[in-house]
Symmetry: C2
C-alpha cells in the first residue's frame, strides 16, 4: 500500500495497514528551509507564485515523508478574489471593507474562470513532483470562518461583530455565507480538477459558536460546500478548532472525515461520530515539545485506545507550532509509521 | 424565597422558584461607575483596598439586583502572596521569577495568617452591605491555571512552557500544583470564614489540555482544593473555559456545581454531569450585544430546553465583555427574573 492509497483508504474508512499521517501547517515556519524562503518573500507572494508554493509544499515531504502533502496557500485568498483587500500588519491580516449592508454584499463577486489560477498551477506542479504515490490535499476556509474574518476586519477574537450581525440581521449574514459557499465550492472544484486527491475545509472559528448558532449559521453553509465538492468524487475533511461541543452537529455535514482537535478524547469523538465519518487527529501540538520517548508513547496510546482500525488519519489537533523542534516532528511521523 | 436562599438552593440542587442569576466579571469595565473608579486607581490597588473592592463588588448589585455578588479580586494575588512578583504591562500581567527547579519550588511559601487580609476584609464589608438576602461568592484560581500563569510568566496562550514541563518533568509540575492547592484551599477557607456563602474556582486554562493530561494534572489538584473547602460546608462551583472535552472528568472533582461555557449545549452538559453536580451557565457573552427581544428569547429557550428544574444557576458562559451595552446586561438579568 503506498501513501496515497493508504490516505484515501483512511478517508473512506476502508481497511489499511496503518493510519496515514500528515500535520496541519506542515509547510511552515518550524522548517528552516521554509524560513529561508520566507525571509526573502512576503507570505501572500509565496501563496501566489506557483513555483514557490509548490516548493514549500514539497519541503516537509522531502524531509519527513508524510503520507499526504497539503498545498501551501491561505484561506484569505478567497475573500481577496471576491473583492476584499487583504494586507498583513503587525498582529495579523487586515481585511477591508467590512460588509454591513445588502449593497456591500451585492458588490462581492463570486470567483470564476481565471481567478485563483496560481493555486491550481501550484497543485499541478506538486502533483508532478509527487508522482502517484503520495496524496495531495487542497483546502479552503469554510464560509463561516471566512465571514468572521471579513466581519471582524481581521483575525477573529470574541467574534463580537460577527455575532452582533448574526443576532441583529441574520438574513444579511446568511446572504454572505451563501455567497462565500458558492465561492469556496467553486474553488475546491478547481483544486480537484488541478490534481487534489482530497480537500480539507477549515471552519477554524466555528467552534467559538454556541451549538444552536453553529447549527443555524456555520453548519448549513459548510454542508452546502461539502455537497458540491463531494460530487467530484473526492473525500472532504472538515476541521473545526474546539469541536467538542458542536461535533455531533458537524458530523451531519456530509464530510467524509471529521478533524478532531486535541481537547477531546479521540475515543469520545469516535462515540459521537460513529460510522457517519472518519476521524483525523488529534495529538496536542505542544506534545511535539516533549522528549521523543514521550511522543512515541502518546502515539501508541492514542492508536491502541481507538477501537476503530480503519477511518483514522493521524494528525495534530491543530497546526504545528512555529517553535516546534524538528526532532519532535520527526518523532511523531516516525512513530505513526511504525504502528500496525 | 430571597436571592441568597435561591442561590444556595440551586447550588445544592434543591427545589426553587426560578434559577438564580449572576454574571462572571459582573464587577467590571462594562459599568461606567466601575470605569470612573478604575480611571484613578490601578487594578491591583483596587483589589488590595477593601473599601474599593467592596464598592465595585456592590455596583452591579445596586444597578441590576443579581442574586449573588462575587468579591472583586484577582486570581494572581495568590501567586503574589507565595512570593512571585506581579506587574501589569501592555498585553497583560507579567510574573517573575519562573519556576524551573525544585529549589525554585521550595522557595514558594504557602500563605498563612496575615496574608491576603484585604480580600477577607472586603468580604466582611460586602457581607454587611448586602445583609442576609443576597448571596456572596468568594473565588480563587485553580492550581493548574495559576501554575500556567507562573510557568508562562503571564497570560497563557499555547501553554508551551507548561506542557513542556508536564512532559519533561511531571514531578516538578505536580509539586508546584500541590503547593498551589494548599495555598488556594487555605485562601478559600479564609474567604468562607469572612462571610462567603459559596466559592467559585476558576480553572480557566484547564480546557486547553487534552483530556488525558487534564486527568493527570489539573483534575487531582482541583479536587484536592475542593475536598478541603467542602469541609467548611459551603458549595463549590468549578469553572473551566472550553469545558466540553473534559467535562466528564471534571464532574468527578467533587464540585457542587459545574460551570459550563457557551460552546456546549446545556442539555448536553446535563447528560454528561447527571446528578453529580448542578450546572451554571451558559449564555454566549456576545449574546448581550443582541437586541433585547433576542436575549429574552434565548434565556427562555435555554431554560425550557433544560429538563432539570433545580440545580441550575443562570450565568454567562464566560466573563462579561468590557464593551457590553448596559441594556444587554439588564435584559439578561430581567429575563431570568421573569422565568418560572
Amino acid at each position: 500500500m503506498n501513501s496515497r492509497e493508504r490516505f484515501l483508504a483512511a478517508c473512506w474508512s476502508k481497511p489499511l495497514d496503518r493510519p496515514p499521517v500528515w500535520m496541519m501547517r506542515q509547510a511552515g515556519r518550524y522548517l528552516p528551509e521554509y524560513r529561508s524562503i520566507r525571509a526573502k518573500r512576503s507570505f501572500l507572494e509565496m501563496c501566489k507564485t506557483p513555483e514557490l508554493a509548490a516548493e514549500v509544499t514539497m519541503q516537509p515531504i522531502r524531509r519527513f515523508g508524510m503520507d499526504a502533502a497539503i498545498i501551501f496557500s491561505d484561506i484569505l485568498i478567497v475573500p481577496e478574489a471576491m473583492g476584499i483587500s487583504i494586507s498583513y500588519e503587525e498582529g495579523g491580516p487586515r481585511l477591508d471593507p467590512v460588509i454591513s449592508t445588502r449593497a456591500d454584499l451585492e458588490r462581492l463577486r463570486v470567483p470564476a474562470d481565471g481567478d485563483l489560477q496560481f493555486t491550481c498551477e501550484a497543485l499541478r506542479l506538486v502533483r508532478n513532483q509527487l508522482g502517484g504515490t503520495t496524496a495531495l490535499l487542497g483546502f479552503a476556509g469554510a464560509p463561516f470562518t471566512l465571514a468572521s474574518y471579513m466581519l471582524e476586519s481581521g483575525s477573529p477574537r470574541e467574534l463580537i461583530a460577527t455575532k452582533s450581525l448574526q443576532y441583529s440581521n441574520p438574513d444579511l449574514l446568511k446572504g454572505l455565507l451563501d455567497r462565500l459557499a458558492d465561492s469556496v465550492a467553486w474553488f475546491l472544484e478547481k483544486q480537484v480538477a488541478a490534481g487534489a486527491d482530497a480537500v480539507q475545509i477549515f471552519d477554524t472559528w466555528a467552534g467559538n459558536l454556541s451549538p444552536s448558532d453553529y447549527r443555524e449559521f456555520a453548519l448549513p453553509s459548510a454542508a452546502r460546500v461539502i455537497a458540491r465538492v463531494r460530487k467530484t468524487g473526492v473525500p472532504v475533511i472538515l476541521y473545526i478548532n474546539g469541536v467538542a461541543g458542536v461535533l455531533e452537529a458537524a458530523s451531519t455535514s456530509g464530510a467524509t472525515v471529521m478533524g478532531i482537535d486535541w481537547r477531546m478524547d479521540l475515543t469520545a469523538a469516535d462515540g459521537v461520530v460513529g460510522d457517519r465519518a472518519g476521524l483525523q487527529g488529534n495529538l496536542d501540538p505542544a506534545m511535539l515539545f516533549a522528549p521523543v520517548s514521550r511522543i512515541r508513547n502518546e502515539v501508541r496510546r492514542v492508536h491502541s485506545a481507538l477501537s476503530r482500525r480503519s477511518g483514522h488519519i493521524f494528525n495534530l489537533g491543530h497546526g504545528i507550532l512555529p517553535s516546534t523542534p524538528l526532532e519532535g516532528a520527526a518523532a511523531f511521523i516516525d512513530a505513526v509509521r511504525e504502528l500496525d
